[in-house]
Symmetry: D2
Subunit: 358 residues, 4 copies
């Protein structure tokens, strides 16, 4: 933290700032310039509230130098986090990039099975599907709830797929974690702090979607809630931010991919379905996401998008999905990071993820 | 809902759209123009998902005409909602505009009592103070929890103040509602749907802050969750939206005040403390809020902002608060809507709010 | 400027940074902390490019302390700029707040005269009207050009009004400055640097609208282009910024008013007509603007908004305008800063503004 | 255009709307629903101003169906525009994707020659370099002006490169067009309408950068100004939009690439240098741009970024540039659209572009 004193700050004011720091056991140094004085605390200042100092007499500005992000930061954890599942499948680091696919919402066993069959046939290992749906309007379809989770379990076991599904409230977390291989936190819950805390104590990876108005730092601090609770398996997911441009539903911020790779060790995937809201844009943005270095993509696919109970307009048809998969494989080759593709032979036997060493 | 068919849409495609509507018991009409055909459903189309139709063959665009907002809309409820408290104090409609004031977080009994004394001395009836604090970083002060609520209760009874305090998770709602006269939903929880549903079943007014990236319609739909649960006492609170302009913490969207007054019957107040993040800007924006027609303002005031445990930089000092109060009184006179000012004589005896008739 | 060196920066890297500074004649000081070293340049560093240093080996971050704004900054010019016109009418400082009113575009002599008569009858001294109109589409009405300026001149002389009109290109500036009492730069030209430079050399006040995506600092730097050219008569005009909220055309950023008052000595007025795009919202936001401390408002009024050739939806009717004027007068009284109201007696004789002393 | 009448609209009000349309020679049809009536104009309504109707008595809402974009729209021009240069090199359609590279600003002959040599050695045909620089602050380096253009000419002839350089004001356009093979309009000038009109009459391709707060439609309408002036050679350039996320300078909106491909026939390229402001992010976003289907990228490269006179922090080093080129080649192969690479053998003899047939 750097505290810039005003040009006409009095000695007593500077001394007061230093004393407050000293009272909190923090060593500072004074830099006396021609016109202004600076009080610098270089090193740990996490406990300090910038606003405390910026309000003090004689202080012009307080600048935070050290980011408040700790556990999620690459500075404290230089190596990539790799999340490994029961059968050795992994996400992050130099693992193959993954495709997570499935319907927006679980609607019926038939819908889910047809989708699961398609994605498995195309080598995909992760099935997404919402049983609890956050909907803007109370009058929209809200999901099948725990019945939907049972369907997910049944169908995923049939096809040897890992389940990615959303949790919306703290009280549900333990039970949903029993069904899910990856527990998803939706964009609107990114700063639902009681939920994040609860997820810090489960033993399943958490896919943390970026809030539509969240900065990169806020996103990493949301991850920090989970990590500091003891769960080190967090996957970040860029899903579009809210901007003035409303031709598409959101603005997919792909530059977040290389930026997160620089700032954090956590895996990052991209959701072009929610991030654009238009199925025609999903494949180009999935290609772009992998080309930018994402650890994977999560997309919506539906056997009959016209009859989807939610977000049908952004779901890929089966044909579009298959075409996209072949494109992604080629992009993977071009960037020397293959897309995970695995032939379906037999049901997976064990589903509990193994904690990664990192 | 207006469904614009493509110029070259086939008869069968138009008929298919009409049939799908008809299957759902919805009457539509066909408008045949020179180049295009339009299928119009004028009247109730709440159950329909736009995306279902926008994906259909032959459809160019689907335009929603009727807003999905129902109970919160002025169209269905032309008269202003007025929320009345035990002693007749009221918010909304042509009631005097209110000031809600207090510290960001309850820190100690002394801090709270000094603040309560100040605000009461200035005629204020509503004491704000957070016991559960949503904080961006897990390492920031998170509030005193239920101990804080006990302090709020004790001090508010002493000074005859109504309590405004925040709830963060569904499980806490019933208990917090026992302490609070107004239960606050923070901006980051505006779309925490399980929480909103829970608040639909309590018997206390809810102050619903606007999410920092929420549109007016999303905000009204969040209110709709509470209203449709049976709680018709919702107060909207504009608290700044997130924009590219970061000189101040948020951009306070004061035009939301007249806009909400047009679209909805619910009271709307303004929070210039969070909305600007700078104490020097709070008084001008409070004046502006009342001048624009807000039903009140909610501001932060602290006996010693430099030592505040959270958001000290935006808390008014006691002197600034008193000056602001006198300015607001004059603005109230200018717009023919006085600010609620009541001399403190004796502790209020009953605190439970009486449900408004509206 | 503060240059934070990386934790593991080598002595040679620190020395290199200091040498580069020294080569440019800039004195720096070194602050050695426990873990990091800081190189501070406190004082003039205007000539330095932050990016030069942020790219250097061993540098973690470069923080600019001194704003690049000079002439427009209150730090260098503590007293308010007051712009004075031929008859003593003034804008800024403690002058009465002003209303500038008129049609969006000059359409005909009749339209202009009727509007001029109305505004003059209500005590207004400044007539706005565009002769050159920046339009998003090349197919929209583009203004009457110099014929429109002749009409403005004729009508304004008749009613003793000062003219506020827009300039769109550098080559037109000298000629438009002959007609105008205040030359307006539209929002989309805020960073049209050749135009700003040209306006630095004219002897008329410039009303500089804020660009719809411009930060406060960029806006002040745009003013700096005019000021540094020798024209010290700049009036800033907040007219709405572009945000994700599109219920109204723009988000009027009223907090810019107290913020600009703090950062700059220049007058600031508010344009709620363009800033909201809806006539029903104009009066509440005009009241709010004055309550927040603006030096005036600029609004659109039209004898027949339904037939306006541009932006009719935001133009006040005559009745709305008269009602708004009486409201503004009362707000002015409430904040101890009256609205300028002057009875019309005779044509003004001299129109050239007198340069303010400041 | 669809005009939705209010539920309680009177017959006379509906008839009035129809009469106004009829007076303008426009045929409308009336759709009478259970609760509301709609007046539909399907077909050409370009001349109509939505605001005229939305203000009329009895009108609830007016919805534009037909976009005001004409010449730039794919609806009116289904085939891709391909821009062809003197030696057959082309941009757009199924042409190989292009790389445009060079320094932000022309600083010296040595700097330019070294950069030109590098880019040519890597197969690049287009050299970018600014001689007139729009700078936020009047105190920043403003470019070498026409001297810079002379340097560009000299060096580009030496290496057989086409010149891409910026024009800032209408009066300069004809002369700059003599030097440039592609005339660039900077983001801040995207709605400088006099400049756009001037460029409508030159015989050189125009690279039109997207304004940092411009919607897709405004961008296409800016192109429309040039096209409607008679110059059909417009290349769109996405260069980042301004959002609340400020970790990087702008948010590069890559989803604009597939969206523009759908809406328009014009070529679109991407500028990740300005769009991110950080050299480390340039290569990943360039890969992503091509993977998303862009017709090319424009990047900044500098022999000594630490000493660059402008925007050094975003300029690639020579090493980074070479590595990026090899990555782009592989992405090009993956998507079956190679990157244009041409060995340098001899100076090009003719530089004037040949107008494309489209």
């Amino acid at each position: 933290m750097i505290i810039i004193m005003q040009k006409n700050a009095k000695d007593a004011e500077i001394a007061h700032v230093e004393k407050i720091l000293s009272n909190q056991g923090i060593h500072s140094e004074r830099l006396i310039g021609e016109k202004q004085t600076v009080v610098g605390i270089i090193g740990a200042s996490h406990g300090l509230d910038i606003s405390t100092f910026s309000s003090m007499a004689g202080v012009q500005e307080v600048i935070r130098v050290t980011s408040p992000v700790r556990l999620a930061s690459r500075l404290t954890h230089p190596e990539d986090t790799v999340i490994t599942f029961s059968d050795g499948t992994s996400i992050g680091g130099s693992s193959p990039s993954v495709v997570i696919a499935g319907p927006c919402a679980v609607e019926s066993e038939d819908q889910l099975r047809r989708t699961a069959e398609l994605v498995r046939k195309n080598g995909v290992r992760f099935l997404r599907g919402g049983a609890f749906k956050p909907r803007t309007s109370p009058y929209s379809f809200q999901g099948l709830g725990f019945d939907g989770l049972e369907l997910l379990k049944k169908v995923s076991e049939e096809f040897g797929l890992f389940i990615v599904t959303e949790v919306m409230e703290p009280a549900h977390a333990p039970r949903i974690a029993e069904f899910a291989d990856i527990v998803q936190v939706g964009a609107r819950n990114m700063q639902n702090f009681p939920l994040l805390r609860q997820l810090g104590s489960i033993n399943k990876p958490v896919l943390l979607k970026r809030g539509p108005a969240s900065t990169i730092e806020e996103w990493l601090l949301a991850a920090e809630y989970i990590l500091s609770g003891g769960n080190d398996q967090v996957i970040l997911c860029e899903r579009g931010i809210r901007t003035y441009e409303t031709t598409l539903r959101y603005t997919l911020d792909l530059s977040a991919v290389p930026l997160i790779k620089e700032l954090s060790h956590l895996p990052i995937i991209v959701d072009p379905s929610h991030g654009t809201g238009r199925r025609e844009i999903v494949a180009p943005m999935s290609r772009a996401a992998l080309a930018a270095g994402a650890d994977g993509v999560i997309v919506e696919v539906h056997p009959d998008p016209l009859r989807a109970l939610s977000d049908g307009v952004q779901a890929l048809t089966f044909e579009m999905f298959e075409e996209m998969m072949s494109e992604l494989v080629r992009i993977g080759d071009a960037i020397n990071r293959p897309v995970l593709l695995e032939a379906f032979t037999k049901p997976k036997s064990v589903k509990a993820p193994i904690r990664t060493a990192s």
